[in-house]
């Protein structure tokens, strides 16, 4: 006969105050002692760009940068990284300006369904911060823990190489063609898209 024992999930573990710097901002949360960083980031801090793919360290969708290292937030106890500087995908861009790695992923097809994209971006960003001229092998090693089911990785590698060029200052940052406001305030008399009767 099939057993019925369950590991009890309640009562929950005791709570403690957890603080860290997430995307440059100090955050303080009341977390359970056993909390996993991924859960804290998604459910409490609210950085939903950190994705839950497999929850067991084999897809890389939950990758975040912790004190400069790209790490898996699903296999990380929040308590162990209290006080750290954590970067999620939300922290990559500066205001409305995409980081080179972001615009290159858009431009070169590095993102299809987009679910693995935040993880790849952070793995790649951690690599480029350390090394702006990575070899093919270094690139593949940096993203070997990230799983992508759509792209076959090739266009992801293209994207990372293009971003590396921008990091090295060899190429101009690209704005993806689909960016609606490459130049939000065009000079000259024509303010586009103004409906008739709309006084300026």
């Amino acid at each position: 006969m099939v057993g019925t024992e369950y590991v009890p999930m309640t009562p929950k573990a005791a709570k403690e105050i957890w603080s860290a710097k997430v995307n440059g901002e100090s955050v303080e949360e009341l977390i359970t002692s056993n909390a996993i960083l991924l859960d804290v980031l998604r459910d409490q801090v609210g950085t939903l760009g950190v994705k839950r793919g497999c929850d067991l360290g084999t897809c890389g969708c939950c990758t975040v940068i912790i004190d400069g290292d790209a790490r898996l937030s699903c296999l990380c106890l929040a308590g162990q990284v209290a006080g750290s500087e954590i970067t999620t995908v939300e922290g990559l861009s500066e205001g409305a300006h995409l980081a080179p790695i972001q615009s290159c992923f858009a431009e070169h097809g590095g993102s299809q369904c987009g679910f693995c994209t935040p993880g790849f971006l952070l793995s790649a960003q951690a690599l480029l911060t350390e090394n702006d001229s990575p070899s093919d092998k270094e690139i593949s090693c940096a993203i070997e823990g990230n799983l992508c089911r759509c792209t076959g990785y090739q266009q992801i590698v293209d994207s990372i190489k293009a971003a590396a060029e921008i990091h090295r200052g060899e190429a101009e940052p690209v704005q993806p063609a689909s960016n609606p406001h490459p130049n939000p305030h065009p000079e000259g008399p024509d303010q586009p898209s103004m409906p008739p009767g709309h006084a300026r």
Partner: protein
């Protein structure tokens, strides 16, 4: 996947860690150690052998040092990759799982890796449907699902990469706990039972690994068999090293074929001591094949894993001569 409840303790010195463990033992409370968490937390999410307390070693300064003769338990595998440790250690560390995991995973965690089995590394729902297994759910009185009706031993497989390499470099492990520190060769650290795994007593943890002075002079090779060059645990692994020119110094160890990594002293002394040529390597490979007993609980079938150990041995030897 929700983490089952536990209290996380953060000692900031080794002494404090020992104190916490002693107190918990005294109170009769069960606990686990956690370093990087990449092995333990995955099992906890599956609700495998969870404990009400977990003691983290990550806040203890100084136990992550890396040098060519001494490596602390909290040394991240990624920090071993590019360091001045023996190139075999760097290579084996670089082959563990994926680069993301290696940023968290530690040497201590890798050596104390829980043994693995596809009847065991499953969710609670899954294990319930097979009426549990005797490793995962101690106390349920269940049978082993790999080899039913066997004795009480667990045959889950040890799939660490670094242990065989450290073994052939002659490494020792330093264990510490409420009752003090002890040192032993790594080859005596493991116990042939997938449940007990190693000699660690309750409250003890692996503090550091030390290597003999001549270990840096050793030339060696680690051969890892896996399906994918990322993520996968070894399906078989062979480490070989020697002090160049000294046949008597040859050491061979295997991993991922049994519940423990194992140094093959007897086979080596019987065969290679006689002379080292293609024929004797082949004979040694055959002897090792015979001595290991993989079971059907990893991704690839045991017959295959056992057969190709010979190839791995052969290749390892060809790399170091």
């Amino acid at each position: 996947m929700l983490m089952p409840p536990f209290i996380l303790h953060h000692p900031s010195t080794v002494e404090e860690a020992c104190k916490i463990s002693a107190e918990l033992i005294k109170k009769g409370e069960d606990f686990d150690w956690v370093s990087g968490g990449t092995d333990l937390l995955a099992n906890y999410k599956w609700r495998i052998n969870t404990k009400p307390h977990v003691i983290s070693l990550s806040n203890i300064p100084g136990i992550d040092s890396v040098s060519n003769l001494e490596i602390g338990c909290m040394a991240r595998l990624s920090s071993l990759e590019g360091s001045n440790v023996h190139p075999m250690i760097a290579e084996a560390a670089g082959k563990v799982a994926s680069s993301l995991i290696r940023k968290s995973a530690t040497l201590g965690g890798n050596l104390c890796l829980d043994t693995r089995c596809f009847w065991y590394n499953q969710s609670e729902d899954w294990r319930r449907s097979i009426d549990w297994c005797h490793k995962a759910d101690c106390g349920t009185g269940s049978d082993c699902r790999v080899i039913p009706n066997q004795n009480t031993l667990c045959v889950a497989t040890y799939q660490g990469d670094i242990a065989p390499v450290l073994m052939v470099l002659g490494a020792s492990v330093h264990l510490i706990g409420p009752n003090g520190e002890r040192v032993m060769p790594l080859s005596e650290f493991y116990q042939l039972d997938g449940m007990k795994k190693n000699v660690l007593e309750k409250g003890e943890f692996l503090l550091k690994v030390t290597l003999p002075k001549d270990s840096m002079k050793r030339i060696g090779s680690y051969q890892k068999l896996r399906v994918r060059d990322s993520w996968d645990f070894p399906e078989a692994g062979v480490a070989v090293s020697w002090l160049e020119g000294d046949k008597g110094s040859i050491k061979v160890a295997t991993t991922a074929l049994e519940s423990i990594p194992r140094e093959h002293k007897e086979e080596v002394s019987q065969i290679i001591a006689e002379g080292w040529d293609d024929k004797s390597v082949k004979a040694l490979a055959g002897a090792i094949r015979k001595s290991v007993k993989p079971v059907n609980n990893t991704a690839l079938p045991p017959n295959y894993r056992r057969s190709v150990v010979q190839v791995l041995v052969k290749r390892a030897f060809s790399q170091i001569k």
